[in-house]
C-alpha cells in the first residue's frame, strides 16, 4: 500500500531562478525503507524537507506530496504533524527543553494530550529506547549519540507512520551511528514503520534498504531496489564512492576484467558476506600480501608527550592516565579509539588548551610553558577543532580569509568558488575546507586535526586526504584524532589505538588494521583470511586482480 506518493515535484528557492528539485516522482509503500542518496548539494535535504509541510522552505513549488490520499501542502490537517516524523543532522540544536523527560513530553504537550495518556506513552517509549536510566538527566549531560537517540524517541512518542531522517548519524561516531541505525531498523521491523533516510554512511544501510532513490542535480537518477539501482548509479562518481566496500571491489574488478569474468553469475554484493563469496569465486591465490614500502627512519620527535595526567575535576577519574606519545617530523599520525577514551582531551593537552596536573608536553624540544604568550600558535602549532563552526565568524568566506591574513590563491587547494558565500550556508565539507584554510593561515609546522572527516561524504574525505598528504610533502607533521577507520587507513603513516587514557598499540595502517578484527576497515573485514594485509579497497582490488590474472594464465 502506498503511504506517500510524490508526483512531479519541482522546487525553486525564493530569490533564485534555477530549480533545486526538478520533476521528482517516487512513492513509498508502507513498511518500506527508502534510502536517498546523492552528492553534496544535489538537493537531498530540500527534497526531504518538502515531505513535511512545517519544514518546507520558502520558494515556488509545483507537483504534489500525497500522504494517504491527502496532499499535505493543501489540506489543513494538524494531525499530520505527528504522522510524519523528522530527525535532522545536528543532535544538539534539535533538542528543545532541558530535561530528558520533558523532551519526550514536548510533542505530546503540543498536541494537547491529557496528562494520564502522556505518562503512559512516555513510559512506553522510554522503555523501548532504553532511556529509563537517564530519564531524569539534564540533556546537556548526554553524549552526541544519546542526544540523537533522544531526538528519535521524542519523535516516535507521537506515533508517526512515516519517519524521515536527514543524515541522522553525520555528527556521531561509528559506534553511536551503528546503534542509531540499528534502532531505526528495529522500529521498521517491529512497527512496520516506513522510513526515508538520507545517509553518507552507506555501508550498513544499503543492504537493509528496500528502495534506493539516487538524485543528481535535483533530478532522479535511479529509483529501484538497491541491486537494480546500482547499475544506473554507476555513472555518478559522488554517489558511487559512498557505496559499500564489497560493491566497490566488485565494480572495479568487473570493469577491469570484463572479458574474463562472467558478470551474469554474480549480483552486486553489498554485505561483507556476499563480498567474500564473490572474492572466493576466483580471486584468491598466491598473492596475499601487499609489500610495504620500507618505513621512513624515525627522526626526531617534533611533539613529545610524557607521562601526561589530566582530569576535569578533582573528584573525577583521570581522563589521561600517564599518556606517552611522540609525533615525528614529517609524519601523519592517527589516534583512533572509542568515544570518551580521551582522544580529544589528549589533543587539547598537546595544543596547550588544557593544563595537565602531571607530565610534560614538548614541542620542538621545548616545554609548552616556555612558549611565551601566543608564540606557540604563530608559525609553529595549530589545531582544527571538531566543531569547525566555532572558528567561523565572518559574514563571508572572503572576510574569513581576510581576517586570518591568507589569500585563497596561496592555499594548497581551491576554495575560490566559495568566496562570496556565508560560512553557515556551506555544506559540511565546504565548511571543513574553509576552517582548514584559517588553520593553515597560522603557518603551522605541527597540525592537529580533531575529527576532520566528521559528517563528510566520500568525495570530500578524498579531498581532505589529498590536502593532508600535500601538507606532509610540504614538511608539516600532522596528528589526527579520528573515529573514521577508512580515512585513517587511507591517510596515516602510523596509527595508534587509544584506550582508557593511554595508547595501547600501534603500527603502520596495514599492520594495525590487519591485526584488528572488529576495529578495522570494511575492506579488511572483506578480505580477512583471504589476504594478509589488505586494508583499503585499492589493496583488495590489486591483490584480487593479480590472483585473477594468475588463474587465467593457468
Amino acid at each position: 500500500m502506498e503511504i506517500l506518493d510524490i508526483k512531479n515535484l519541482t522546487f525553486t528557492y525564493r530569490g533564485t531562478t534555477a530549480p533545486t528539485i526538478k520533476d521528482v516522482s517516487f512513492s513509498l509503500n508502507a513498511g518500506e525503507v527508502l534510502l536517498l542518496c546523492g552528492a553534496t548539494g544535489s538537493g537531498k535535504s530540500t527534497l526531504l524537507r518538502m515531505l513535511k509541510r512545517e519544514l518546507t522552505p520558502l520558494g515556488k513549488m509545483q507537483g504534489s506530496v500525497v500522504y494517504k490520499g491527502k496532499n499535505i501542502h493543501i489540506e489543513e490537517a494538524p494531525h499530520l504533524a505527528t504522522k510524519i516524523g523528522f530527525v535532522a543532522q545536528r543532535p544538539e540544536g534539535q533538542i528543545v527543553t532541558d530535561k530528558v523527560w520533558h523532551e519526550l513530553a514536548f510533542g505530546l504537550e503540543n498536541m494537547g494530550v491529557k496528562k494520564e495518556v502522556m505518562a503512559r506513552r512516555i513510559a512506553e517509549i522510554a522503555n523501548y529506547f532504553g532511556i529509563e536510566k537517564w530519564f531524569d538527566r539534564d540533556v546537556a549531560d548526554l553524549s552526541g549519540g544519546e542526544k540523537q537517540l533522544l531526538n528519535l524517541a521524542a519523535v516516535m512518542v507521537m506515533d508517526p507512520e512515516v519517519l524521515i531522517l536527514d543524515e541522522p548519524t553525520a555528527q556521531l561516531d561509528p559506534i553511536a551511528a551503528s546503534d542509531f541505525l540499528a534502532t531505526v531498523r528495529k522500529l521498521n521491523a517491529d512497527l512496520s514503520l516506513s522510513v526515508i533516510i538520507c545517509e553518507h554512511r552507506l555501508e550498513e544501510i544499503v543492504p537493509y534498504a528496500d528502495k534506493l532513490l539516487a538524485i543528481d542535480k535535483g533530478q532522479v537518477l535511479a529509483f529501484d531496489a538497491p541491486k537494480a539501482a546500482f547499475a544506473k548509479v554507476r555513472e555518478c562518481e559522488a554517489i558511487m564512492k559512498n557505496m559499500p566496500a564489497a560493491s566497490l571491489v566488485y565494480e572495479r574488478l568487473t570493469a577491469e576484467y570484463k572479458d574474463s569474468i562472467n558478470t551474469g553469475k554474480y549480483e552486486v554484493p553489498f554485505e561483507i558476506r556476499e563480498g567474500r563469496e564473490f572474492l572466493q569465486s576466483g580471486f584468491t591465490g598466491p598473492y596475499t600480501k601487499i609489500d610495504e614500502e620500507a618505513g621512513s627512519k624515525k627522526s626526531v620527535p617534533v611533539l613529545k608527550v610524557t607521562d601526561l595526567r589530566f582530569r576535569y575535576d578533582r573528584n573525577e577519574p583521570d581522563v589521561l592516565c600517564g599518556l606517552n606519545l611522540s609525533l615525528y617530523e614529517n609524519e601523519i599520525l592517527c589516534l583512533l579509539g572509542g568515544n570518551g577514551s580521551g582522544k580529544t582531551t589528549a589533543l587539547k593537552a598537546a595544543a596547550g588548551l588544557i593544563k595537565p596536573y602531571a607530565g610534560k608536553v614538548e614541542v620542538f624540544g621545548r616545554k609548552l610553558a616556555s612558549y611565551k604568550a601566543d608564540s606557540l600558535y604563530k608559525n609553529c602549532l595549530a589545531m582544527l577543532p571538531q566543531d569547525v563552526q566555532t572558528i567561523l565568524y565572518a559574514d563571508s568566506v572572503k572576510d574569513e580569509l581576510l581576517e586570518s591574513g591568507i589569500e585563497a590563491g596561496s592555499l594548497p587547494y581551491d576554495i575560490s568558488y566559495l568566496l562570496d558565500r556565508h560560512p553557515y550556508d556551506l555544506s559540511g565539507g565546504e565548511q571543513q575546507l574553509v576552517a582548514l584554510a584559517k588553520v593553515l593561515a597560522a603557518g603551522p609546522k605541527i597540525l592537529l586535526l580533531d575529527e576532520p572527516t566528521k559528517g563528510l561524504d566520500a568525495l570530500y574525505k578524498e579531498k581532505i586526504v589529498k590536502i593532508i598528504k600535500d601538507l606532509k610533502a610540504a614538511g608539516v607533521s600532522v596528528l589526527i584524532v579520528t573515529h573514521d577507520v577508512e580515512f585513517a587507513a587511507g591517510v596515516a603513516d602510523r596509527c595508534l589505538m587509544f584506550f582508557r587514557g593511554d595508547v595501547v598499540s600501534g603500527g603502520t595502517p596495514r599492520e594495525f588494521f590487519s591485526g584488528n578484527t572488529f576495529y578495522t576497515t570494511a575492506a579488511s573485514r572483506l578480505s580477512r583470511g583471504l589476504f594478509e594485509n589488505a586494508v583499503t579497497v585499492d589493496d583488495v582490488v590489486k591483490l584480487a586482480g593479480l590472483n585473477h590474472v594468475e588463474k587465467q594464465k593457468n
Partner: protein, 292 residues
Amino acid sequence: MNRFEEYNPITVAVIYLCILGISMFFINPALQILSFLGAVSYDAVRRGKKRRGGYLWYLTLFLILTFVNPLVSHNGVTVLFFLNNNAITLESIMFGANSGIMILAAILWLRSFSDITTSDRLLYLTGRLSPKISLILSMAIRYVPLFRKQAKKIEDGGKAIGIYTKDSIPGNIKSKLRVFSAMVTWALENGIITADSMSARGYGLKRRTSFSVFKINKEDVAVLLAVCLLFAGVMYAVLRGGLDFSFYPRVTTGKNAALYITGCISYGLLVLSPALLEIWSNIRWKYLISKI
C-alpha cells in the same frame, strides 16, 4: 516517606509562602524570631554535618540593619543619647533589630528554597500557571550552560589558530568581540534548527498541555490541610488583635494573652514544619531500613 524536599512542589511552595508572607506582613518580634529559628532548624536538619559557613556575614548584616535604623529614624520616646543633635532612641534600635531578624530569616528561607527547588520543580509550578511560560523557562534554563560551553569552544578554537590573543589590551578586546559575534551567529543558526524541530513536532498547532513527573499523594494532602489549619490559626490571632504590636512612639502589645499564645504556637508549628517533616522522614526511614 518523602523528605521535605521531595513533597510535591505545590505543597512546598504553599508552606514557604505562608511562612514568608506572615513574617513579612505582620510586625511582631515573636513572629520574626520564630521564623528565624524555624529557618535555622530546617537548615541544620537538612544539611546535617555539612554546614555552610558565612555566619559572620549574617551577624554583620544583622548588626548593620539594627544600628542603621536609629541613625535615620528618630521616632520613639526613650532617648538613649544624642548624636550630632539627633536623638538615638531605644524604640528605633528595637525596630532595626526586628527588621534585621526578619531579613535574615527571609534570606535563610529563600536560600533553602532555591537549594531544594530544582529546575523541573520550578517548571512544574510555572506549568500550572501557564504551559507557555513553563516552556520558555525550560528553554532558557537549557541555553545558559549551552552558551557558556559554546563560548569556551569558540575561545579555544581561536586560540589554537593564533587569532585569539591576550597579549595586549586592544588585541584582547578584539578577540572578545570576535567571540561575541561568533556567538550571535551561532545562536541564530542554532535557534533556526530548534524552531524547525519545534514546528516539526507540532508546536503551536493546538493548546498546549503540561506534563510533569510529580504527583499529589495522601501525604501532600495531609500536610497541606495541616498547614492551612495553622495558617488559619495565625490569621485568627492576627485579625482579633492578639498579635498587635507597635514600636512607636513606645512599645505596645496586644492585650489578649490567649490569642497571643494561639498565634505563636500556630506560627511556631508552621515554621518548624519543614524541619519536623524532615526528621519524621529520617525516623521512618531508619525504621524501614532496619527491615531490609
